[in-house]
């Protein structure tokens, strides 16, 4: 190694052993590079500084505090709120609310739509050979035709709510089956992180 540029490149390359002898030989005759070598050694030396007194105690206090907060959060997840608190937060509740609003706002249109849908279903069922279903649908709607618009809307609202409640119940049951099968609890993290 004959010059300072090559020496600095050797330093930049992480002081490879292959050229170490030549580099040290150069540094022994060059004050500048000898000084750079001292700098490099100083940089590579451990840079520990004595931590303040009580450091470990403070860390352990914070660790316990974090554990305490985690335990509280875990308890909240494991002890869910009563149904009358959690039910309004369910998507089914929002859907039921939208459905009820629609019924109140456009009861007659909804009724006409429901009748038309029932007619279509009835025709499809009759075409497919399900005459029993056709008769049942006809029988179900026949008494309602005689009722007033308000009664019809109420009937639809009750039927809609019952359908949504049944859907929610089915969803909750499926959720429980999946949770039992995979060990995954909604809102409690992944199975790997859950302790």
């Amino acid at each position: 190694m004959h010059d300072c540029t090559a020496f600095e490149r050797w330093l930049d390359d992480g002081r490879p052993a292959l050229q170490a002898e030549a580099a040290h030989a150069h540094a022994s005759g060059c004050a500048r590079c000898a000084s750079l070598l001292v700098l490099e050694d100083a940089l590579a030396a451990p840079f520990a500084a004595p931590a303040p007194r009580g450091f470990a105690d403070a860390v352990m206090l914070r660790v316990r505090d974090a554990e305490h907060r985690r335990a509280i959060a875990r308890a909240r997840i494991e002890a869910p709120a009563p149904w009358w608190v959690s039910a309004p937060a369910e998507p089914a509740a929002a859907l039921a609310l939208v459905g009820a609003s629609l019924l109140l706002w456009r009861a007659a249109d909804v009724w006409r739509g429901a009748v038309a849908l029932a007619g279509t279903c009835s025709a499809w069922a009759a075409g497919a050979g399900f005459t029993g279903l056709t008769a049942a649908l006809g029988g179900a709607f026949a008494p309602a035709r005689a009722l007033g618009a308000t009664a019809q809307s109420t009937l639809l609202f009750v039927a809609g709510t019952a359908t949504l409640a049944a859907a929610w119940g089915l969803y909750a049951a499926a959720d429980r089956v999946v949770a039992r099968a995979s060990g995954f609890v909604r809102g409690a993290g992944t199975p790997a992180t859950r302790r």
């Binding site: 451990p46 500084a49 450091f55 352990m60 914070r62």
Partner: protein, 201 residues
């Protein structure tokens, strides 16, 4: 009377470094299983280097203490997921470096908002414990003049012997940015070091 069986350790004196590493691994394993006593011992083993790294990056004793403590708490929380791909020390120092840089960033933002003086940068960091305290103090002075990312890169590159790719991953910076920080830091340190040679000799 038969001679009592010699303790295996006495029969084959183990290399002290290997023994220390094994003991450290055991501590980490116990701490992974939520053994607070083992974790406390890890804290005591690593506190000076963690604090030193935080101090080098933040240049403030109070912030360095807080950052190092936060890093230990984070390490405790993340220990169950620690796979042992690097040593506990290297892993911890990555957390410290990341947190220290975040702290410097947030301090700078706050100072900019308050239009205040750069207190954190103005506070001189104490010289870390080294073989030559004068040399260490001089080095720390120079390192203190670097920017926070440059300090972090230099500390991880030299002090932790981490490659550029690992530093980039730790600090969330592109590799080329890390290389640039490293090159500029080296150039600045060398220039200042050589310029200071006249003063110290």
């Amino acid at each position: 009377m038969p001679e009592p069986a010699a303790h295996p350790a006495a029969a084959t004196p183990p290399d002290s470094t290997a023994r220390q590493e094994a003991a450290a691994r055991e501590l980490v394993e116990r701490a992974r299983h939520r053994d607070e006593e083992a974790f406390r011992m890890l804290v005591e083993l690593h506190r000076d280097r963690a604090y030193g790294l935080a101090l080098r990056i933040t240049r403030s004793r109070a912030d360095a203490e807080d950052v190092a403590q936060e890093a230990f708490v984070r390490a405790w929380e993340a220990l169950p997921g620690f796979r042992g791909e690097s040593t506990f020390g290297t892993w911890l120092h990555r957390i410290v470096a990341r947190r220290a840089l975040d702290r410097v960033d947030s301090l700078r933002r706050r100072q900019r908002r308050e239009l205040d003086l750069d207190d954190a940068a103005a506070e001189p960091a104490p010289a870390p414990a080294a073989r030559d305290p004068l040399l260490a103090a001089r080095l720390e002075r120079l390192v203190g003049d670097l920017s926070a990312p440059q300090r972090a890169v230099v500390s991880l590159f030299y002090g932790q012997d981490q490659p550029v790719e690992a530093i980039a991953a730790t600090l969330g910076l592109p590799e080329n940015t890390v290389k640039t920080h490293l090159a500029r830091a080296r150039a600045a340190l060398r220039e200042a070091w050589l310029a200071g040679d006249g003063e110290t000799t």
